[in-house]
């Protein structure tokens, strides 16, 4: 049975060239190559060339193979490309494989000290005698590795016309303006550059030329954006347990904590606790949400599984909190360093019994920031846990992004009554009951512990209760309560981020997707035009779905539901929820552990449209 990897059939576009090609660097994990690759990315960025990088690293600390792909795209496409015209093969363990994978007409840059043989006439080869190059100067022994990896940066600068001063600037950024390491690394780059100048003759067509397409843009990881979003969203209690690829969300919150500390006393408005596991982490988050602070955790699949019982409690006891799921591919432990969108369905229904959750799905760094702060407003407005589902690709890779816009609405605590407001509420209604639906939107009014009012107290529980928050086993109390919670859930449809749509009534084909697939889909849509395939596009940004989503599905002959999991989970949700006949929904589900490529989207739709 053939494996359906991301295919490469003959379709239009995708011709590489100046300011438009992909480069793949193969090295060993933990050998410091990350620095070299980031220097290349930053250099292109500084030259004004839209660039993106994807780190394919192993679940290991040192030694296993890692591949890093860098894409330069004058058209501003940032999706991963399966084909990389240029390969830097610096890892003995994978070099033969890497050589074999260079596309016809492609470029191969090798470390000549490794053992390999290139039995290929159809590619251009440049070989770097790394040891020899490094001999020309003497570097601290323990830097040997990472410095060896700087040689390919030098060679690339020469081969692809990256000015050395640009590379130096990139180094400074990389080492936050510490000159010493920057200089030392730059000297290697220079050595390799000059060696290449003297010994290599440029024979390939791939180069870069300065553009001005990155001015005013940033390079940032989604998890860093998420951390900033949380801090500007007023997060106050963070409880977490380390797990790839979510750890850097918390690391970045710690990194930016100063913003929330008193410059004199260092006293902080954020508490961060590393819990003993995910059950404790979510328990702390729920306890903190109940007590009235803005609380969050960040985790990944296995952690989500462990949080099922507690999030069911928070749903039913109506406690606001925020849970980031930076997804990696599963089932089970799966591949901790590979991406996918396989948790969607599980998050939506997380918890036994009739439980349903709000899930926000950012597509880019800006939305990681925006949903990062908005999630707290939504959680407090709806009084329920809010999940934000990002993924390894969006979270841990560098993305070109507009600077973030400051929150356009003040912090919204929802229907939360302090001492005075409670008094007013009594004055107006003559009563206050925790779970009574005074406004018909299903959302009740809450107080928090520590409110100095004799009637502020109520009892929170995961067991059946009536609208006065009193334990009840009555069938009618149970049904009334669940009906109200469903009302609340419907209210949420209008409160969560609405879908982003590109719609033209003349087009009969729709594409519906979410999350980090956006880059691939945007590119594919542009390219498919040449094949006569014109598409509308809806990018869903949250569950529960709003009416617009159902309408979009209804308004097209065919709607391709594109996602990066195995079972077509969004497609399943749509099949269930789109009223009436939903047989026009076609599932395009990938789930091959890698970020989606435009080619895959293009090919799959192209093939289907042929029929």
């Amino acid at each position: 049975m053939a494996v359906e990897l991301q295919p490469e059939v003959q379709i239009s576009g995708y011709k590489a060239g100046v300011n438009d090609f992909a480069l793949m660097v193969a090295t060993k994990n933990g050998s410091g190559s990350q620095t070299s690759n980031l220097v290349l990315i930053r250099s292109l960025y500084k030259m004004g060339i839209p660039v993106s990088g994807k780190n394919l690293f192993p679940s290991n600390i040192k030694g296993l193979p890692t591949w890093y792909t860098i894409r330069a795209s004058k058209d501003g496409y940032t999706a991963r490309r399966a084909t990389t015209e240029v390969s830097v093969a610096f890892n003995q363990d994978t070099i033969s494989e890497d050589i074999a994978n260079v596309p016809e007409g492609g470029v191969l840059i090798t470390n000549a000290d490794l053992k390999y043989n290139v039995a290929r006439e159809d590619i251009i080869v440049y070989e770097l005698p790394v040891k020899e190059i490094l001999k020309q100067a003497d570097f601290p022994k323990d830097f040997a590795d990472r410095i060896a990896n700087m040689t390919y940066v030098g060679a690339c600068c020469f081969l692809f016309d990256i000015p050395l001063d640009i590379a130096y600037g990139a180094l400074l950024d990389q080492f936050n303006n510490k000159e010493k390491p920057a200089k030392m690394n730059h000297s290697v780059i220079e050595l390799a550059y000059h060696w290449s100048e003297e010994n290599l003759t440029k024979r390939d067509e791939y180069r870069v030329e300065p553009l001005n397409l990155t001015a005013g843009k940033m390079l940032i990881e989604g998890n860093d954006a998420a951390a900033l979003g949380a801090l500007f969203g007023g997060v106050s209690v963070v409880a977490w347990y380390p797990i790839t690829p979510s750890t850097s969300v918390i690391d970045n919150i710690m990194g930016h904590m100063k913003m929330r500390q008193d410059p004199e006393t260092g006293k902080s408005t954020v508490a961060i606790v590393q819990a003993e596991d995910e059950l404790a982490a979510i328990g702390m988050v729920i306890g903190a949400g109940w007590a009235g602070s803005r609380s969050m955790t960040a985790t990944s699949g296995p952690g989500i599984s462990l949080m099922a019982e507690f999030t069911g409690l928070a749903y039913f006891a109506e406690i606001p909190c925020v849970i980031w799921d930076i997804t990696r591919i599963g089932p089970s432990t799966g591949l901790p360093t590979r991406t996918g969108q396989g948790d969607l369905l599980f998050l939506y229904y997380l918890g036994h019994g009739d439980t349903k959750h709000i899930v926000l799905m950012p597509s880019n760094a800006e939305e990681c920031f925006e949903f990062g702060w908005r999630a707290f407003d939504i959680a407090e407005q709806i009084q329920t846990p809010v999940f934000v589902m990002s993924d390894l690709d969006l979270g841990m890779n560098l993305w070109l992004s507009e600077p973030f816009t400051y929150p356009d609405t003040p912090i919204n605590r929802g229907k939360r009554l302090d001492k005075v407001e409670l008094e007013e509420f009594f004055a107006e209604h003559g009563e206050w009951f925790r779970f009574r639906d005074y406004d018909g939107d299903g959302i009740p009014y809450r107080t928090v512990p520590g409110t100095d009012h004799p009637r502020s107290a109520f009892f929170t529980r995961g067991t059946g209760h009536n609208d006065m928050a009193v334990y009840s086993e009555r069938s009618d109390d149970w049904v009334q309560n669940l009906q109200r919670i469903h009302r609340k859930f419907n209210t949420a449809r209008g409160v969560v981020p609405q879908p982003v749509t590109d719609y033209d009534a003349n087009k009969s084909i729709g594409i519906l997707s979410y999350g980090s697939n956006d880059a691939a889909i945007q590119e594919a849509r542009d390219r498919m035009v040449a094949d006569g395939i014109e598409t509308n596009y809806m990018r869903v940004r949250a569950l529960p779905l709003s009416q617009d989503v159902y309408d979009f599905c209804k308004k097209h002959e065919r709607v391709y539901v594109v996602e990066n999991n195995f079972d077509g989970q969004m497609w399943q949700i749509l099949r269930t929820e789109v009223p009436g006949d939903a047989s026009n929904l076609i599932s395009l589900a990938l789930g091959d552990t890698l970020p989606m490529t435009a080619r895959w989207v293009h090919t799959r739709i192209f093939q289907t449209e042929q029929k």
Binding site: G234, S268, Y406, P449, F459
Partner: protein
């Protein structure tokens, strides 16, 4: 509003208990009500937390003026931790059972103690799972026999010993049948800064009340051995320095320990001469108690309070839960400056 007419004892009650008549847990609830009344505890500042079980139901039966959270089985410690981070001004009273804490919640219990979450942690210990009808819990006596569930082959977990090992600075054991001791220890625990563990033997009259069970009323009435006479001296009391003995102190002698709030616990040592300020001593006493199945009650271990979790995190003086607007959201300027660093 709050400073209206002074509250009566009834005002500190909760809903009517739905536990079995005679359940040990109900008498503990009553002592909590009395102590709250005697101390004039501001109910609005109290947070009642529990897991799941007959014991964990009780927060609904006392201090109706306080917020309560009956969470999920075995996870009260984490919920309490989060609540105290959100608002370190709260007075947290956690109620749990031996199953809730010793079985499913054991890891959370140990880690909450280790973090020194400031709270009173009460275990209503009856050696069985009451609410699920009488299975052995992890504190059941080794070799004990129960009608439905046969003989317990496993050694009991000692939740006091576990607390001492985990770094608790206040560990006491009592017996729900010993009302006055329960009250004294409750007051001391509330005055203590940091995690105060109270392991209270609280008989399940329905499923584990045979006289040969160390968790039964008859057994407790027969065998309780008090380690000290305990007296609480309200803030303002000025101890007569003379009186305070040097360690080790002998029978009949007295130690007075000043608590965080300026009150004092006065311990009059009884025949065993246990000095709760000595960790090795605590180990010894607890081992002896387990070996000989003795119900030794009183203050088992006490230590100068170390930093509580909120303290070691150096949090703002205003409880995080009460921060508003600007305190929570940095300025637009701050964001714009930051953005530049990414360019």
């Amino acid at each position: 509003m709050t400073d209206a007419t002074p509250l009566k004892r009834e005002d500190y009650r909760g809903n009517k208990s739905t536990l079995c008549p005679g359940c040990g847990h109900d008498s503990i609830s009553n002592q909590i009500i009395s102590v709250a009344y005697e101390l004039g505890l501001p109910m609005w500042r109290v947070a009642k937390l529990s897991g799941i079980g007959c014991s964990s139901k009780t927060p609904a039966y006392f201090l109706r003026g306080s917020h309560g959270f009956n969470s999920v089985h075995g996870r009260m410690p984490s919920v309490a931790t989060g609540a105290m981070l959100a608002n370190q001004d709260l007075i947290a009273i956690g109620i749990s059972g031996d199953g809730d804490t010793g079985s499913i919640g054991f890891g959370q219990y140990k880690h909450a103690v280790r973090r020194n979450v400031p709270m009173v942690y009460i275990i209503e210990n009856n050696g069985v799972y009451g609410l699920t009808k009488g299975q052995f819990s992890a504190t059941a006596d080794e070799g004990q026999h129960l009608k439905y569930y046969g003989t317990n082959e496993l050694p009991p977990i000692d939740l006091c010993l576990e607390a001492v090992v985990a770094g608790a600075t206040f560990v006491a054991r009592s017996f729900s049948g010993d009302a006055s001791q329960v009250r004294s220890l409750l007051k001391a625990a509330i005055a203590h800064k940091g995690m105060a563990v109270l392991d209270i033997v609280s008989p399940c009259v329905t499923f584990n009340n045979a006289p040969d069970s160390t968790k039964s009323f008859p057994y407790g009435m027969e065998h309780e051995i008090q380690l000290q006479e305990i007296e609480i001296l309200a803030p303002g009391y000025v101890p007569d320095r003379e009186e305070i003995t040097v360690e080790p102190y002998g029978e009949g002698e007295i130690i007075e320990v000043e608590m965080h709030d300026g009150s004092y616990i006065r311990l009059k040592k009884l025949d065993r001469g246990h000095d709760p300020r000595n960790r090795g001593e605590a180990f010894r006493v607890l081992q002896e108690a387990e070996r000989d199945q003795l119900l030794l009650t009183g203050l088992i271990y006490y230590e100068e309070p170390r930093n509580t979790l909120p303290e070691s995190l150096n949090l703002s003086d205003t409880p995080l839960a009460q921060l508003q607007g600007d305190a929570l959201r940095p300025s637009k300027q701050a964001l714009d400056d930051l953005m530049k660093q990414y360019m």
